[in-house]
Amino acid sequence: MKRKGLGFYAKIYCKILAQDLKSKMSYRADFIISTVGMICTNIAGFISFWILFRNFPSINGWSYYEMLFLYGFSLVSLTPVQCFFDNNWSLRQNVYTGDFIKYCFRPINTFFYYQSEVFDIKGLGQLAFGLGTLIYSWIKIGLGFTPLMLLKTVVFMITASLIMIAMQNAAAATCFWIQNSFYVLDLAFRFKDYAKYPITIFSPVFRFIFTFLMPIAFIAYYPSLVILRPDKVPVLSWLSPVIGIAFFWLSYKIWMHGAKNYSGTGS
């Protein structure tokens, strides 16, 4: 098989995306309700956050606005996994029913083709909400604004996204080996809720676990330290882009390994 260039894939992605949006638009009511549901989730998350901080002015040396920054950061960095990799949730059914085999026969990358099939617009509501929170807390902390800081923010946000995408891919890929992988995926999905807390609240053992075994701390904590506490950034924060790429690559390999060994259901 000849290797196809990036331009080719970009073009094909837009074509598939257009088809997906068209089919989504035919279920307009469902689309609107889902979007409202997503916004409700974010508002509820924010309300519980607010109730908590009404009672406690700071947690472990982290002020209200700093925690808000972490919260907004995690929301924004979770957008790509929601928007571009939502088809992972259907992988289980596709593998189970045998529909997955159709992806194996296309002359393009299976992983790419599978993920490109669904674009989840709901994620955009979350993006807006997260950006609002982030900008608000940014101003309140008085971080100032330079092009370098913006660049740092973008780079480290992509890093954080990669980690979450990696966890989601790996969790979804378990369905190639076990039945009922929904629980695994749901577990990985719930990690995002823990990402918004500073890792320093945990004991050393769990700090280690949440950094290296289940890299939750890389979704918001380590990357945002670069912005929030620029004078004492730990090495792990600087390393996080590398770790993000490594985890993503690893999850891609796991996913593809499962897909390559997929033998179909015979139907």
Binding site: C40, S48, N180, R190, F202
Partner: protein, 267 residues
Amino acid sequence: MKLKKYLTLTRAGIIEALQFRLSFVVMVIGNLLYLIVVYFLWKAIYASAGTDVVNGMTFTDTLIYLVLATALFNFMEMYTVWEIGRNIQSGKIVLDLLKPMEYRKYLFWSYSGSFVTQFFLTFLPTFVAVAVVTHGAVPMGINLLYFVISVVMAVSVNYSIDFIVGTICLYTESIWGINIMKQVVVLLLSGATIPIAFFPDTLRTVVNFLPFQSIYNAPLSLLLNGSPDTETLLTTLGTQLIWCIVMMAISKVFWKVSLRQITVNGG
């Protein structure tokens, strides 16, 4: 005997639930992780607060409350909305409607098996673990009886709410959005994520007039209170009973009216 036909469904549910052992393991790991996060988060919160008692709750109280709220959630979550929604989409609902049993009851009793398994496999172990870890901070007396009575009513209220929301799916044919909205509203306003004692006064007053606090806050506050005075006891249980009856009536009437609306494609 009338009860026998229901108990047959319970038995079938138990057998079905025991089929999925691996998902059970994953669920336990997920809960354990959640409990760890909750433990450290609230520990840090209380450490930063500087006082032992916040809003009339100590750290141990809060911990017991939140841990058991999670256990209760796992115990009570029946995925009713998903089930109804899926049955509508697939058309299976037609077969269920033909059964010589009210649909509302049929659905409840076919899930009752998972109550039994969940109670013994997750709720009881969690309860024992919490009692041991907190060195017997859970009062063991007559309050256990009140707790059980309260939980039974909580299950009923929760099911009625689920059933009402499920009925809405008849109109919207959207499941995900409706379900996520229900979930965040119930979890937040029932005091499952943050104890209602921490809510600001106005919000708490509003929440007390809503049915949701009957689900988590009522049983848990009865459990934590070793020697409740008769007045508190009667108001809590009385409010629950009223909501029980009201929500049941609403869900029955709403279902009856909505059934005329149903359109099933195939099945």
